[in-house]
């Protein structure tokens, strides 16, 4: 490599770092404005517009991630007003990692959705604006540092998610969307109630500032309880999980992928961010145990339910409920000096790997529905030759979900496990291991159906429909990325280290 090239590379790097601050609002505004433009022009008149908008969004995300990786956390004061008066956009390593995940999955969903929805006879006219606004909202949730702005974003997430879940407009999808809508509205109002109390106590809505001003008193406790419960309802954490399975499994496959891998995940991200940045004063060992216990129950419950489902998409949806439990295990572990750093890395890593694997699994299931017209497990016997590429994606995704080495899922679970063992928290270690084993049970059950020989006397009534090339390969690429993260985890962990929460870094010195 010549030095000239290296120089120009260096200059590009500097330029990228400098423009990262501007990329912060752009990751929100670019998909939003594209969505409005798509609606204005009409998606049939300009089918190239949504992919172009997605590409631009990814470009803004890349600039931002590059800036965080090289220049540390980025911040932009909207309107030029300092918080608490104004709203700050703030991207640290955690936010950058999630924006990267959203960019990858978002691009995949964008590429996949066109052929899939057209093939299923569903209209793209409203899907595009809704999906692009959802993407903008997701990025907004990751970078907003203002409690009330987050409320607006959460409502946007619900209002874009519910119609995507209801797109099929049959009985099951409609009732699922209604249930989702009602619980999500309840959840956001509980969240807003908590925010009202926090503002009443501190006079500020800025995350870091509220965290600094907050004292461990009754107000903070009730606010934290309301906010956590509200977000749990929106993220389908265990006792409030009922809406997730019908909503995610009745949505069209690309929407399921977005809802499971990104939308519900963004809410769990918010739970973690609020506990680590706003409520660390309340994060005592018993509190951690309480939330970790809920996570542990979710892991077991979700896995057991996933084993009993007769259709593929409900299996994947229940797996989401189980996998979110791992993220909650962070809270009991992060208060222990020995476990804090690996648990933090493990949880964030798990969020990314689960997103990739879950999107891959839902898109592979979508391929199955596209080709066969159903996703009943019984009917999948002997179809591997027709859907070999999709089945490979499904197998890889499930391998990652159960944490089989050398996938990314293995690395994330290993990090959580090593944290729990280092702090001698045997219960949490056991939960991680049992959860992995249970995931293996439902994963192998599905794979057994898929790879089984066709039943005797099986006659092919109708040849499976041919898959468009792009639909065939999108899930594989996502699943391979999840695999790759198991092989090479360092870039992600380094990115994550920028602006790690104080509760994690305080033990490092």
């Amino acid at each position: 490599m010549s030095s000239e090239f290296a120089d120009s590379g260096l200059m590009t790097a500097e330029l990228l770092t400098a423009s990262a601050e501007l990329a912060l609002p752009l990751v929100f505004f670019v998909p939003l404005l594209t969505a409005l433009l798509v609606f204005w022009v009409g998606s049939t008149r300009a089918p190239w517009l949504p992919p172009l908008g997605a590409a631009l969004t990814v470009a803004a995300a890349v600039v931002l991630i590059f800036g965080v990786a090289n220049g540390g956390p980025q911040s932009h004061h909207l309107g030029g007003w300092q918080p608490p008066l104004g709203i700050e956009l703030y991207a640290d390593g955690f936010a950058a990692v999630m924006i990267a995940l959203t960019a990858v999955v978002g691009l995949a969903v964008t590429l996949y959705a066109g052929p899939y929805l057209r093939g299923k006879g569903l209209s793209l006219e409203h899907f595009w604006p809704l999906w692009l606004i959802q993407w903008a909202t997701l990025n907004g949730i990751f970078i907003s540092a203002d409690l009330f702005n987050l409320y607006v974003m959460l409502e946007l997430l619900t209002l874009t998610g519910a119609p995507l879940a209801a797109m099929a407009a049959d009985r099951a999808a409609l009732s699922a969307a209604l249930r989702y809508m009602l619980l999500a509205l309840l959840g956001s109002l509980a969240y807003l109630l908590g925010v009202a109390l926090l503002y009443g106590a501190t006079g500020s809505l800025h995350l870091q500032e509220v965290g600094a001003l907050l004292e461990a008193d009754a107000t903070a406790a009730i606010a934290a309880a309301l906010i956590t419960a509200g977000l749990f309802a929106k993220a389908a954490i265990f006792p409030l999980h009922i809406w997730l399975m019908p909503a995610h499994s009745n949505a069209p496959a690309p929407a399921s992928a977005a809802l499971s891998a990104l939308v519900a995940k963004a809410v769990v991200y918010l739970v973690l961010r609020l506990w680590l940045w706003v409520f660390p004063v309340l994060l005592t060992a018993p509190m951690g145990w309480l939330i970790g216990g809920i996570g542990a129950v979710a892991i077991v419950y979700g896995a057991v339910q996933a084993m009993r489902q007769p259709r593929l998409k409900p299996v994947i949806a229940y797996s989401t409920i189980a996998q979110f439990g791992y993220l909650l295990l962070l809270l009991p572990l992060v208060v222990l000096p020995a476990a804090a750093l690996p648990a933090w890395q493990g949880a964030a890593y798990h969020a990314v790997v689960h997103g990739l694997a879950k999107a891959a699994a839902f898109l592979a299931a979508g391929n199955m529905i596209y080709a066969l017209g159903h996703d009943r497990l019984e009917g999948l016997r002997g179809l591997t030759p027709y859907l070999s590429v999709s089945m490979l994606a499904l197998a890889l995704a499930f391998a990652s979900l159960m944490g089989m080495p050398p996938t990314g899922g293995f690395l994330s679970k290993w990090l959580l496990l090593s944290g729990a063992i280092a702090a001698e928290q045997w219960l949490w270690a056991a939960v991680v291991i049992v959860g992995g084993l249970l995931a293996a049970v439902y994963a192998f059950r599905v794979l057994a159906y898929v790879h089984a020989a066709p039943p005797s006397g099986w006659v092919e009534l109708r040849a499976p429909r041919r898959l468009p090339r792009i639909m065939e390969w999108t899930p594989v690429v996502l699943a391979l990325l999840a695999l790759l993260l198991g092989v090479s985890g360092m870039p992600l962990l380094q990115l994550l280290a920028h602006g790690a929460p104080e509760i994690v870094t305080q033990w490092a010195e």
């Binding site: 209801a166 099951a172 409609l174 009732s175 009602l182 399975m245 009993r308």
Partner: protein, 150 residues
Amino acid sequence: MSQAAFYALVAGALTGIGIYGLITQRHLLRRVLAVNILGSSVFLLLVALARRHPDYVDPVPHAMVLTGIVIAVSATAFALVLARRYHAATGLTHLPEDEESEEALAPGLLNRRSLADRRSGGGPPPGQPERRQGARRRSDEDRRSDEGAQ
């Protein structure tokens, strides 16, 4: 007790009523009403807390509530449209008790049936006495005006 504290208490009580209604009522319209009561209680708390300062009224909660009211109206309107469509597709005015088991039993069947219902405006399927005819027949006048609209 100050006026602000008094209204904050009222807001707390309204929250309780809203939650109670949302859990105990099953009719969709009633649940939407309960969500609205709940929302207004949160708004009331915010505005009451804005009133505590001896020398000024805090405008930030007012702006937040104004935003919240718009969001509440949007969500209500969408929820009602969704409820109407659900009613048209199923004839029900409440959500089924236990969706998961219903789903697990005959997912494909349910989907196909409701689709067919919508297309043909067909009668109630056997075994579901609470389901009634969903789609109202268009009156000629309506149809004419609609076709003119298209």
